[in-house]
């Protein structure tokens, strides 16, 4: 038997609020708002049911759950609307475009988006987890269900590949060079 309902509730109420924002962001980066909302609820439901299994650091684990739920949710979308899905990946949904209107042109780093989209999906996802979710290789390993060592090596290679794509696109369009030097 699992722990009594009250203690499970207490545990979940203690942990879940800190998961919601990161999970919302994780999903907003990867799918449309409606699917994000559904998958968030689904993910929290899994966390609730498996509250006794939650690790000490629940977030990477929860990202892993969200990732699985999202894949499941998008399987039919992909089947029915392959094209739409592809566009949504390359071109994030409207709600998630940068809000700073004044700097929209500057903020839209098309070269980066194209370079990222040209990578293998696994590589792109590693880079997203690293930069957007700001995870360490060990945490990325938890999300993806691989060893920390493998995550570290793959991340290293993914960064190299992205850099190489960016260099190529820089070389291909010299006039864009000024943006490349821009320090964030």
């Amino acid at each position: 038997m699992s722990a009594p309902v009250e203690s499970r509730r207490d545990h979940f109420e203690e942990v879940a609020p800190s998961l919601i924002e990161p999970l919302r962001r994780f999903l907003a980066r990867r799918t449309d708002p409606a699917t994000a909302e559904d998958v968030l609820a689904e993910t929290l439901l899994v966390c609730w049911r498996r509250v006794d299994d939650l690790p000490e650091q629940p977030l990477p684990w929860a990202y892993g759950v969200a990732r699985n739920c999202l894949r499941n949710a998008e399987r039919s979308v992909r089947r029915e609307q392959r094209l739409t899905a592809r566009i949504a990946t390359v071109d994030p949904p409207p709600v998630s475009t940068p809000a700073t209107d004044a700097s929209t042109d500057d903020a839209a780093d098309d070269e980066l988006a194209i370079a990222l989209a040209s990578l293998r999906p696994e590589d792109a996802e590693l880079l997203r987890l690293w930069a957007w979710e700001q995870l360490t290789p060990a945490d990325i390993a938890t999300v993806l269900g691989v060893t920390a060592n493998a995550a570290s090596i793959r991340l290293h290679r993914a960064r190299q590949r992205l850099r190489s794509r960016l260099r190529k696109s820089e070389a291909g369009s010299g006039h864009e060079g000024s943006r490349e030097r821009r320090q964030p």
Partner: protein, 215 residues
């Protein structure tokens, strides 16, 4: 490992294009409601102990994925499910190779334009088929569900709900099957009962099913 400053610059550049950077923080009231909904889900009838026999939702996700793969490849025969033991499978359009038993249902044929009776356990208990299921695929005109619990009717491995194109809009709007989600479904005469008798899993609806088919 190598070029740490390069890594930092690359990470910063990626972060600058983070699509969620502008995502506003969730409304706390909504978040609280969401958590409450989530926590109330399992505290009702369909507990791990009674309904799903300890299987976690992940298991169901894996199972759903497996069903899709199996249906696609059609190598399920070896597992040894006997289609002969099932209820009334009309596996007419199922390609060879799958031994899953299937219940075929159709959407109501436009007769739901009129009044909807208030869903009561009495009305619900007259349904010939009732089950708790997760949608494993939504294709044009066909939704496939994998039942986890049968309240009424002959249990089968899968349920397919046909919706002819003309009724798709209305009927699917009325039920709105979505891939991966859980529903409580009832039917009579091979046609889905809508009007609140079939809907996404909720504690209230589960309680109604429990009252109607109580075990």
């Amino acid at each position: 490992m190598t070029d740490v400053p390069d890594d930092a610059a690359l990470r910063a550049r990626l972060q600058a294009s983070d699509p969620a950077a502008s995502l506003p923080v969730a409304d706390p009231a909504r978040t609280a409601r969401l958590l409450e909904d989530v926590m109330s889900t399992e505290l009702t009838t369909e507990s791990r102990e009674s309904g799903t026999r300890g299987r976690s939702p992940l298991t169901w996700l894996v199972a759903a994925a497996a069903v899709l793969i199996i249906a696609g490849i059609g190598v399920f025969a070896a597992v040894g499910h006997d289609s002969g033991s099932g209820g009334a499978p009309t596996a007419g359009d199922q390609p060879s190779g799958s031994a899953d038993t299937v219940t075929e249902l159709a959407m109501p044929s436009g007769a739901i334009k009129g009044r909807c009776p208030v869903p009561t356990s009495e009305l619900l208990s007259s349904q010939t088929v009732a089950f708790d299921a997760t949608v494993v695929s939504v294709d044009a005109g066909v939704t496939t569900l994998e039942p986890t619990r049968w309240y009424a009717g002959e249990p089968t491995d899968l349920v397919r709900v046909q919706s002819p194109p003309e009724s798709l809009k209305y009927a699917v709007g009325a039920v709105d099957f979505r891939d991966g989600r859980r529903y409580l479904v009832s039917a009579t005469g091979g046609r889905l009962s809508v009007c609140g008798f079939t809907g996404p899993y909720s504690p209230d609806l589960a309680a109604l099913y429990q009252r109607a088919f109580g075990d």
